[in-house]
Assembly symmetry: C2
Homo-oligomer: 157 residues x 2
């Protein structure tokens, strides 16, 4: 199983980028993983929130292949403890033939079409974090999941 | 009201340190804020988990002054949405005479004495993050709270 984190918009904070790269490298010791960045909309300021969501949704759908299992990182999604997330990832590895794609939306959430193509929604926190921070949270948690699956001494209960 | 984030152990990842410093600087535009670091135990490897928790607890209690309002960042704590956390901070500003101290524990949690001196427990996520990441999450969320209180265009609902 390949894992992709699909995100909209470039990360600009160089400290956060470096921290994300660090954890991305660590995750790759355990599984094929990449972060795919969809460039943000150029004319976003001229669009309403609803129009932005719709246009971003089209770009997200273009990046999804048939056979992908799509998981949205969404504030309305299911919350996991780290050990539960690790068990969930382990199970997905057994049943996912192709690619597991986690999608982080823009500030206004996802369009209906994106919700419709997703198989699950998960939430990293009830709090809202910047899109840069969400990426970092996700890669740290994915790395933590693999250390839990592998029984490595990173996570303590 | 002064806000302190009290943590055990130095952050070693220079990218995370830089990101924490960035958000710390931003928070300081809104309120007196600092991060107090308690050096980690030198002989930790020789101690059991329970002994570590106890010894760290003593150091935490030494850093707390009478009159401080103590809030533990604890996985068993109350989860907030960002807007709820902002409202909570705003209320605390009205009723806290001295210092609001948020405490991040070590990997094994807090000793009973620390729990006893706390007035509330809050949780940033059901997931467990490294102590370095928790600091970053907290400062971003504190900054976000002040932008929500101030009506600044950082947070979107």
């Amino acid at each position: 199983m390949k894992i992709t984190l699909l995100v909209v918009g470039r990360t600009v904070d160089k400290n956060i980028i470096a921290a994300i790269d660090d954890y991305t490298g660590r995750v790759k010791h355990f599984a094929p993983f990449d972060i795919e960045i969809i460039p943000e909309l150029k004319n976003a300021r001229k669009l309403s929130e609803a129009q932005q969501k719709e246009a971003e949704g089209e770009l997200i759908l273009k990046s999804i292949n048939s056979g992908d299992t799509v998981i949205l990182l969404d504030e309305g999604g299911k919350e996991f403890r780290s050990t539960e997330f690790a068990a969930w990832i382990e199970k997905k590895q057994q049943i996912t033939a192709k690619r597991l794609v986690f999608v982080v939306g823009g500030p206004y959430g996802f369009s209906k079409k994106v919700y419709d193509c997703a198989s699950e929604k998960i939430s990293l926190s009830r709090m809202t974090f910047s899109h840069q921070m969400i990426r970092l949270l996700f890669v740290e948690q994915l790395y933590r999941a693999y250390t839990i699956i592998g029984g490595l001494p990173y996570h303590h209960e």
